[in-house]
Symmetry: C2
Subunit: 364 residues, 2 copies
């Protein structure tokens, strides 16, 4: 990897080569958003190569206005690639990210495979950008979408007031479960529409027989579960939010309590957060800190009915924060409501931002 150098000659020389980029998982829910994001952000890459399963190979997709042909995942697919983004299931990343890294690519991985690996940094550019340098395996991890929906705002508040404890409840969108989640919710909403359901138990279970990737009907319902079962009654998603928040913020002892709940929203995760700090934080002070924070949009005028909702946030880049209140019974605590597009900042955008930090190493 190229290090920041004081010698202008070297810089100029290196600048001649724009790094090549591979998008692995280009045809998935996150991959699709990634192509849109790559087309709209500053162009910092040479070749862009789209990689997917053999089933999708040959498919043609548009990126940066060019038609690109998807190639099948293979070791050779990474030949000549400088940076490889992975948006694939954990087990595919676990197998293929090291192969790509071995062939010389810097991998930015959006699976859960490496996030808690001590030799893999977990990066949110607004919070801990310098951690991208600490990548002995050539792999950088992108956090889980639920963690990402709040962590930029939490990082900004931590810097100002010193975070001590988080109590988080999620309102997670169907697309957190990928395209099958989106399809299942659309299908379920069509099934319940126009019917007088929702006032008798088992009503919805009678009509919604295809649960898709969810453990219970999602249309006209909420489901207190995301991920797989872990010890002591926890879901994997809840542990991810706790462990990843601690790692990104560099606070291995941070107290974090999380309950994850799926809601019938297509895209954009929402979270309520009760955050306790080491000093008194007024509503005004919290609002000011959030207003100045990079990547955060403060939208907090309840007197004008202005607070973030998924319908307003989806498709946008920032972390939207509203309903900021100083806790009535603890002047050192703030309660708020935060929304983030789980496919953009929650996945593709943060991956793209990390890749841009890596790309800058090639040209500076």
């Amino acid at each position: 990897m190229t290090k920041k150098s004081a010698k202008p000659a070297k810089k100029a020389k290196a600048a001649k080569r724009l790094p090549s980029l591979a998008v692995v998982g280009a045809t998935g829910a996150v991959g699709t958003v990634m192509l849109d994001i790559l087309s709209k952000r500053k162009n910092v890459y040479g070749e862009i190569r789209l990689i997917a399963s053999a089933r999708s190979a040959g498919k043609k997709l548009i990126c940066r206005g060019e038609e690109l042909t998807v190639v099948a995942l293979s070791p050779e697919a990474f030949d000549g690639i400088d940076i490889a983004m992975f948006d694939v299931p954990d087990e595919i990343s676990a197998e293929w990210a090291p192969i790509a890294a071995q062939r010389g690519a810097v991998v930015v991985d959006n699976s859960g495979a490496f996030r808690m690996d001590k030799k893999v940094p977990l990066v949110v550019p607004e919070v801990n950008p310098k951690d991208i340098k600490k990548r002995p395996k050539g792999i950088i991890s992108n956090p889980n979408c639920t963690t990402l929906s709040m962590i930029v705002a939490m990082g900004a508040l931590d810097k100002k007031f010193g975070l001590k404890e988080l109590v988080v409840s999620s309102y997670q969108a169907a697309s957190g479960a990928g395209q099958p989640g989106i399809d299942a919710l659309h299908d379920q909403i069509s099934k319940v529409a126009g019917k007088n359901l929702g006032s008798v138990a088992k009503d919805l279970r009678g009509v919604i027989t295809d649960l898709g990737p969810f453990p219970a009907p999602l249309a006209m319902n909420v489901v207190p579960w995301a991920g797989s079962l872990k010890e002591d009654g926890y879901s994997s998603e809840e542990l991810k939010v706790r462990n990843e928040s601690r790692k990104i913020l560099g606070m291995p002892k941070l107290k974090v309590a999380v309950t994850c709940v799926r809601v019938p929203v297509i895209t954009t995760h929402s979270l309520t957060v009760h955050a306790t700090f080491s000093k008194v934080v007024t509503r005004k002070a919290a609002q000011n800190a959030l207003k100045k924070a990079e990547g955060v949009l403060l939208y907090d005028n309840p007197e004008k009915k202005e607070y973030p909702t998924p319908a307003d946030v989806v498709g946008t880049d920032p972390t939207w924060v509203g309903r900021v209140r100083q806790s009535l019974d603890n002047p050192k605590a703030i309660d708020l409501f935060v929304c983030g597009d789980n496919l953009r900042k929650g996945a593709a955008l943060n991956t793209a931002q990390i890749a841009e930090l890596v790309a800058a190493e090639f040209t500076r």
Copy 2:
């Protein structure tokens, strides 16, 4: 009011008269559920009289298998009434509950008009039944539906472990806003069904133009608001949950942080609760306390995908509790997910239970 007496003669004499009952607001969303509940529970009343606005007078409704004709609200409508349940807006209760009380009825009021009145008890029969005796105004208040969705479970845990602090996030159903809320959500779901919405901001705002009683689209969305704007950015609903919980539990200094969010569910409020106690509480101990608690149904087997969801809870009486976990970073705290039918225990059922306690005074 008749007091418990040691003299059997008096008891026998009093037992001859079943108290008469008025249901004020019989044609509303809660009133409709009330008629169902009165028909199914033990019959402890003499006459039942249905009262509503002049607009609904003359309407015929079935209760206890009898057809009853709705009469218009007037002072005389309370003549001969021993117990009057009110399920009407705050301002109607504020005006008419004292009139009914003055004419000799014990009022059980489900509005917000008297809940924080020091001379009016706020009662949940499983938690503070004895408080019904302290009613100098002849009025007993029924708590807000959101408070009621969790307070039976919290009361049971408090008795066992000593509650210190609550952090609550709500997932509130549309019917919390009455029949207009139910109608609006059904209508909105019909509007979005079959359309590829929810992936672009303002999409839903384009299709859902009739917001009903909500400040933003509710179908395919969540809205971090319920009630009216109070000081310091709080919603009235959030203050209700805090203040009512303190009053019911008899803990005026209990620390309570609440964020209220509306979700696209027809009926049944859900809440996540992070509850801190004065002693260590294991998952097993919390589950055992909840299993034994009157009015609580523990439904907590995530390995079998068993946790409460509104689709399973709606139309049932208990407070369902699942996802019970000991907090990973505080052995004195428990995280859980609770569901309660906001029209039944959250409104009509609790009112009926209070009225039955009052009715027992007439017959014992």
